[in-house]
């Protein structure tokens, strides 16, 4: 049963071949059996089973959606009333939110059953999940490798099928990079499509929620319940809802796939390039046309990102002062001292580093030279995508330069770690949808991801293009050896 897709689980529930309570128990057992992965931070079987009983009652009443009774787990960046919400930080250890994030609420209204909260990099800052206060998440394909980050727990949980689906967030690649490293499907929609209400803020002009699943079809089904306008998020896009499954069966015949030459330059490892080129060849076999395109300033995405994201994070994280919630130091003098000590103790090294960079680039005399200049170069990069989309319908390339790296390989050098997001940051800066789908294995038999990007609001098309590949290949169906039981 745990090998079934979200779509099949929904059908099995509707046909009463399995109950939501049985499914919840099955996944809770798997979570326990694969505890070593450290994917989950909070599991409360009583809460999960109560939700499952409600789902069963709803199915019995004939009032179910295709998602009712299907389990889901949430990245610990989304606040939840019934589970602790920590952002994987010491700062929020034990924090119990008085409300649910909109994404959590919407999936709950669709009838999905929450399995618990997933480990991630602290405040979603990182590319390897090594920045969690609660320890590393292991890559189910190779336990000496990182699962990617920041949504490492989400990626590992879906890869090991200890959850059929997991919410995630992407600021500079935090869905696509771990999806690639862990051999699963991950998608971020257009900026503004998923509500940021109740998503613990990192960099507000970039943060966007998405979903991780085994397949594109599953992601499309969940997007139907998850996305939409939210008046509580001031950057949410007020636009009609849509059926994200509507293009799944569209052929790619005649589809123009843009291949940016900058994504195949120096630094790209041959094993990743080989798997990605083979995936492109599969599209050509299906009748798509490859078009050479250029995103000349894509590489500037990293410096732009490391100005904008720290600037916004330094502003967002100023709310943690040890007064209303969060960690407070045990010993302190006056109020200022209390705040300084609480923040020094509560934040780990990466958030502290980014807060300091942000405070500097926003400080008097540097604001124009750094922050405004970065916002201008951000527009140059976004405009280059619009130029590219005049020549092609979809952009495809690698997600990462290499397969998953080992623990500790990049942890000591922030700059080396930051370069992990070379191919994902440009799309985040533009705010366009992007996804990663499994397309083979590289060095040490670690998974490789194919990145697909579309223009704004073309999630349905993007999911369809991914689905067509997954109809012809079975990479997304492969299970890590340790996950087969």
């Amino acid at each position: 049963m745990f090998e079934k897709s979200v779509a099949d689980l929904g059908r099995a529930l509707a046909a009463k071949q399995v109950s939501a309570v049985e499914l919840a128990k099955l996944y809770l057992e798997r979570i326990e059996r694969h505890k070593q992965l450290n994917a989950f931070l909070d599991v409360r079987p009583d809460v999960t089973l109560a939700q499952a009983r409600d789902a069963d009652a709803r199915i019995a009443r004939g009032d179910a959606t295709p998602l009712t009774g299907v389990p889901v787990a949430h990245k610990d960046i989304f606040v939840t009333r019934d589970f602790a919400s920590t952002a994987s930080s010491r700062m929020l250890k034990g924090y119990m939110s008085p409300f649910d994030a909109t994404v959590v609420e919407k999936l709950g209204l669709a009838g999905m059953v929450t399995l618990g909260k997933l480990n991630c990099d602290e405040f979603a800052m990182g590319s390897s999940n090594e920045n969690s206060y609660y320890g590393n998440v292991l890559n189910p394909w190779d336990k000496t490798a990182v699962p990617g980050g920041s949504s490492g727990g989400s990626a590992a949980a879906v890869a090991a099928r200890i959850a059929p689906a997991a919410t995630a967030t992407d600021t500079g690649g935090s869905i696509r990079e771990p999806a690639a490293f862990s051999g699963i499907t991950g998608i971020k929609p257009t900026y503004g499509r998923a509500s940021r209400w109740g998503m613990i803020a990192f960099a507000s002009s970039l943060d966007q929620a998405g979903i991780m699943t085994a397949s594109a079809e599953d992601a499309a089904l969940i997007f139907n319940g998850m996305l939409g306008f939210d008046p509580k998020d001031s950057t949410s896009v007020d636009r009609a809802g849509e059926d994200y499954t509507r293009s799944l069966n569209h052929s790619v015949k005649g589809l123009r796939i843009g291949v940016p030459k900058e994504f195949f330059g120096e630094g790209l490892q041959p094993d990743v390039e080989k798997a990605v080129r083979e995936a492109l060849a599969e599209y050509v076999r299906q009748g798509a046309v490859l078009v050479d395109i250029s995103l000349p300033n894509a590489a500037l995405g990293i410096p732009v990102y490391y100005v904008i994201a720290p600037a916004e994070c330094s502003s967002n994280l100023s709310r943690f002062d040890g007064v209303r919630y969060g960690h407070r130091a045990a010993h302190y003098g006056d109020l200022d001292d209390m705040i300084k000590k609480s923040r020094a103790e509560g934040f780990g090294p990466e958030p502290r580093r980014r807060i300091l960079i942000g405070a500097y680039v926003l400080s008097h005399g540097y604001y124009d030279a750094y922050y405004i200049q970065a916002q201008k170069v951000r527009r140059i990069i976004a405009d280059e995508f619009q130029q590219a989309f005049r020549q092609c319908d979809i952009i495809a390339g690698p997600v990462t330069t290499s397969v998953a790296f080992g623990f500790g390989e990049k942890a000591a050098d922030p700059v080396a770690m930051y370069l992990s997001d070379l191919y994902t940051i440009p799309g985040s800066l533009a705010g366009i949808p992007g996804m990663s789908i499994p397309c083979g294995f590289g060095a040490k038999n670690r998974p490789v991801g194919l990145q697909l990007m579309s223009n704004y609001f073309e999630e349905a098309k993007l999911l369809g293009v991914a689905h067509q590949y997954q109809q012809a290949t079975d990479w997304h169906m492969r299970l890590p050896p340790g996950a087969k039981s």
């Binding site: 008046p231 410096p303 580093r353 400080s363 750094y370 916002q375």
Partner: protein, 95 residues
């Protein structure tokens, strides 16, 4: 333009994060590495380009300026590190 340890101390103060001498030196090295990366932006000609603050343009939508009561005050207060009679406690700021 490399940062100095006094810059690091100044921004740590601005950010209200306590920092020790040893951390200052270590942080300085890391920040200078990151700023070397960031400096690439200075050579880009951005004449006439509007800064991009939201991917889809437009300003932020504002809601009506009305107070909304949260129904569960206790649920909010129970996360406070120190509270009394429904109020947050902080060290004395006015003598």
């Amino acid at each position: 333009m490399p940062l100095t340890s006094s810059d690091v101390k100044r921004i740590a103060h601005l950010a209200r994060i306590e920092i020790t001498e040893a951390e200052t030196e270590h942080t300085l090295g890391q920040l200078n590495g990151i700023f070397k990366l960031i400096e690439q932006l200075q050579s880009v000609d951005t004449t006439g380009i509007e800064p991009m603050s939201h991917p889809l343009g437009g300003g932020q939508r504002l809601r009506e300026d009305v107070a909304i009561d949260h129904p569960d005050r206790d649920a909010i207060m129970k996360n406070a590190p120190a509270s009394q009679d429904g109020l947050f406690l902080v060290p004395r700021v006015i003598e």
